[in-house]
């Protein structure tokens, strides 16, 4: 098992390194201007490029970048928040995004699981239909549309919640964005849980367990849910990454200083900020690869059969 874990971690690190290099190479090789061109003339830009070492060979630049990045220095902004170290800006942004995304993940998974289990237990009845309709709406309507709806009704017409994000009242002002972000996760999880549980309920081993006299919570939680969880984890993984990082539009609408907004600002500003694009790209990719790795390893915990076959593959 340890060997398997190490191998997977090593592979993930290599993948990440390749991606970072590709990103770096693309950003440096492609034509484009990292500086706000309207405010600087050609000589200033040329000086700036020389100062940042943008004219050196790509490999030299990459080595310089990666050694600094490993020490936690991602450089300064070139056009966005000019001259301020990226780390300072990013740490606030990551804090905001992760807290709101984290609440959304927890809320979405918990409520989604509950809904799915309830629907599967009341199969074919009113609750089941309700769950189906709910999950269809949740999947079809983008989260930012929900946010616009909530914002319009509960912050504008009934001014109960703040209209824009306010970091000094974090708990209160994260209700609307977290709620709207969680809806997609919630409905996806609910749908998958319901379908998986219904399938597992029909399986022979659950029938056997039931005929042996097991019933109620023990049967549902230990025999049905555990076996239904494996596919659910697969669905959940990309959702988690999306929520932690890709709440882009939601952040834009609600005025949250998060990494999504930072990315949008970096690519839609006057000059596209290379350093921000790179740093955020690395962050996104690392998160994505990390979560995928975690899920792969989690399978082994949830389903011993996979652990065995993974070992077999090793041998």
């Amino acid at each position: 098992m340890l060997k398997y874990v190490l191998k997977r971690v090593g592979l993930a690190l290599v993948t990440l390194l390749i991606i970072v290099f590709l990103l770096f190479w693309l950003v440096r090789v492609m034509p484009g201007n990292p500086f706000p061109s309207e405010r600087m003339n050609d000589i200033q830009i040329a000086n700036k490029r020389a100062e940042m070492g943008l004219d050196d060979p790509v490999l030299v630049q990459f080595w310089r970048y990666i050694t600094r990045a490993l020490q936690g220095d991602f450089g300064n902004g070139t056009s966005l928040y000019y001259g301020v170290p990226i780390n300072t800006v990013m740490s606030t942004a990551i804090g905001n995004s992760f807290r709101i995304g984290g609440i959304a993940v927890l809320l979405g998974t918990a409520v989604g699981l509950l809904l799915g289990i309830t629907a599967a237990l009341h199969r074919g009845k009113f609750l089941d239909g309700f769950c189906t309709v709910f999950s269809i709406i949740g999947v079809c309507v983008p989260s930012y549309v929900f946010l616009i709806f909530l914002q319009y009704n509960f912050a504008f017409r009934i001014p109960f919640f703040p209209y824009f994000f306010d970091a000094s009242r974090f708990a209160f002002s994260s209700v609307l964005p977290s709620l709207s972000l969680s809806l997609f996760t919630m409905s996806t999880i609910a749908r998958f849980t319901r379908n998986e549980m219904v399938e597992v309920f029909d399986s022979d081993y659950v029938r056997l367990a039931a005929s042996k006299g097991l019933h109620g919570r023990r049967l549902v939680l230990r025999h049905v849910l555990r076996n239904a969880l494996i596919p659910i984890v697969t669905v959940l993984a990309p959702l988690v990454v999306d929520l932690l990082t890709g709440a882009l539009v939601v952040e834009k609408i609600y005025g949250i200083n998060g990494i999504g907004k930072l990315m949008v600002d970096a690519i839609t500003g006057e000059g596209i900020d290379y350093n921000y694009v790179l740093a955020l790209g690395i962050l996104y990719s690392a998160l994505y690869i990390g979560v995928m790795l975690l899920v792969d390893l989690l399978y082994g915990v949830l389903d011993p059969r996979i652990r065995v076959s993974a070992k077999g593959e090793e041998a």
Partner: protein, 347 residues
């Protein structure tokens, strides 16, 4: 190898001398026939199964209606998608139809018995006009058209790329498969947003950026499914037969195996289209998608959002169209998946 077999065949036949009786027709009364039922072809079965599924039919109807409206909607009235509805009144002053809520004059008159009391009392705006005075009915369907075109173009190209990649990778196996799959893994771990932002550095914002971003990400799912199908099929007898007869790799992959993998791939296409529409809407909303004065569902939602406190009705049409598109394609995809690979219990 095939040629050798062909040459060998007549040599065997020459030993048998046919007699006249071999070619005599039988009288019809001598032939006993079984009661025969027309066999159902695969695709006919799929169609029957698909149309039995209520949801799939609802999805199909929704998508058909939206497509028809996307084609004919913008020409159903006289306003262009970027035209500002305006005219000069008797004092030669410019009057612009800014921010008019949805109205149908004759219906209003019928219900309330009075006319609208502004300069546009006899004009119909089914969805109203936006803050600049452009007709939202025209813009909504024009936007839907743009979104649908982007989705279809990218998904068809992605289908071709992903399918070929997956089929080739699965067919050859071994080292080629290993290298190709490592590449997929790496490509798959780059988040879409990162691709978009890198693209935004050297591509002008607009339709091209959206299409390229979608091209770069959507083929991966397609290739995975094609590869899985290939692995399932390539050991079957008919492939072996074809190879024995001397067919080349290209022929086997694209002529023999491809037609048999088409079912799961079509299903995947149906699920990719809403993803593409969604991504387009999201990129346009963020500001790297469709540029003005063109519009798509995403830019329309953004416009609506910007005016939500003053013209709240403006955001409704694009949101509803987007939701219905997602709903319709998801329903069709579900229906197709069940129809193409029916489980025994559903029959």
């Amino acid at each position: 190898m095939a040629k050798k077999n062909m040459q060998a065949a007549p040599a065997v036949a020459a030993e048998y001398v046919p007699v006249a009786g071999d070619f005599e027709l039988l009288h019809s009364r001598d032939i006993q026939t079984d009661a025969n039922f027309a066999s159902q072809s695969y695709w006919k079965g799929v169609l029957i199964h698909f149309f039995k599924n209520k949801r799939a039919v609802v999805g199909l109807v929704i998508i058909t209606v939206i497509m028809l409206l996307a084609i004919f909607g913008p020409i159903m009235n006289s306003y262009g998608y970027k035209d500002i509805v305006q005219f000069r009144n008797e004092k030669n002053k410019r009057v612009v139809a800014k921010g008019i809520s949805p109205r149908i004059p004759w219906l209003h008159e019928l219900l309330t018995g009075e006319k609208y009391d502004d300069s546009f009392s006899d004009l119909t705006f089914l969805f109203g006009t936006d803050d600049l005075g452009r007709d939202l009915w025209t813009r909504t369907w024009y936007g839907a058209r743009v979104s649908l075109i982007i989705a279809f173009v990218t998904i068809i190209i992605d289908m071709i790329i992903g399918m070929s990649y997956g089929l080739i990778s699965g067919y050859f196996g071994g080292l080629a498969d290993n290298i190709m799959q490592r590449f997929v893994e790496i490509a798959n771990s780059v988040p879409r947003l990162v691709i978009v932002s890198v693209l935004a550095i050297f591509m002008p914002k607009g339709m091209g950026l959206v299409i390229v971003a979608l091209l770069l990400t959507e083929w991966i799912g397609m290739s995975k499914i094609a590869r899985a199908e290939m692995l399932k099929i390539k050991e079957q007898e008919y492939v072996l037969a074809s190879r024995t007869l001397g067919a080349g790799n290209g022929h086997i992959i694209f002529k023999e195996i491809l037609p048999n993998t088409i079912g799961p791939i079509i299903t995947q296409v149906m699920f990719s289209i809403p993803t593409a529409i969604f991504t387009e809407a999201f990129l346009s909303f963020v500001g790297v998608g469709i540029v003005l004065p063109q519009c798509s569902v995403g830019t329309l939602i953004e416009d609506g959002f910007n005016n939500i406190t003053t013209l709240p009705y403006q955001i409704l049409p694009p949101i509803i169209v987007l939701a219905l598109l997602m709903l319709g394609f998801n329903f069709i995809g579900d229906g197709l998946r069940e129809a193409l690979a029916p489980k025994l219990e559903d029959m």
